[in-house]
Subunit: 130 residues, 2 copies
DNA sequence: ACCTAACCGACTTATTAAGTAGGAATTAGG
DNA sequence: CCTAATTCCTACTTAATAAGTCGGTTAGGT
């Protein structure tokens, strides 16, 4: 269950947006609230925007906001953007007697995906996990 | 769900031992059967032995064998040896509104651990997953 | 003695993660 | 129109980890 700093930052930033009142939230505010290195955060927010998960506005009073309601953005959505699509052919088919190991990884991944697809940013922001 | 090559090798090697008839199995045989770089495998087996998971015998007809019955060695046992004990303080306590994220990781880890603790080398070797 | 196989630490190389740098483009307010 | 705020973008650096290699040493059996 490895979760990179980048991924965690992305989720925390997104949660911050989910919890904020309507309107743009500047990156600086997010960085301070979540204690994320500013420049790095820029980088991540850019990626989220390009993926269409958030929108942005430049200039004074500019900032970022969610492209969809927080109830409709799952953790998996965010994670997939920053981690890239998982190439799950990595553990496919072990020699001989070790074959069944692949089924274990596959079960683990399945459960993980299920869980992360069930939980939305709204759940996190409101502390109402299912 | 990141699983290092080293970990996979360790599990596959252990499975090979679990499936073998009683008596020492030389590293070379495991390396060939599982297509694992020989020197690297040495390294891993050494680690497993030091952890008390397997025993060894030098000289001709030497090799490795499981220290306990395959039914009593879980995947978690093997993984913990090669990955080291998880420092799960890594994601402990996020600022403000992101706090509940920690519960998600914790749930994920709990499930993972449960599953890996339920499955033994015997299950893999005999392809009889629960 | 000799061959086989485990034992051991240190070393090299490749990849990824994490963060930084330096600016350019946009927008609102005065 | 000028200024300040703020996003946008590419590329770079550095640190950590993973993966595998090397060169031998030690012990056991025949």
């Amino acid at each position: 269950m490895r979760i990179s700093a980048r991924t965690q930052y992305a989720l925390r930033a997104a949660t911050e947006l989910a919890a904020a009142p309507p309107g743009p939230v500047p990156a600086e505010k997010i960085a301070v609230a979540q204690n994320i290195p500013r420049r790095f955060l820029d980088n991540i927010l850019l990626q989220l925007r390009r993926a269409g998960l958030i929108h942005s506005q430049r200039g004074p009073d500019g900032g970022y906001w969610l492209a969809r309601p927080a109830e409709e953005i799952t953790l998996a959505d965010v994670i997939m953007v920053v981690e890239g699509s998982p190439e799950h052919s990595a553990h496919g088919g072990y020699p001989g007697v070790a074959g069944p190991l692949a089924d274990v990884w596959s079960a683990l991944r399945a459960h993980e995906e299920t869980l992360l697809t069930e939980i939305t940013l709204a759940h996190i922001a409101k502390d109402s996990l299912p």
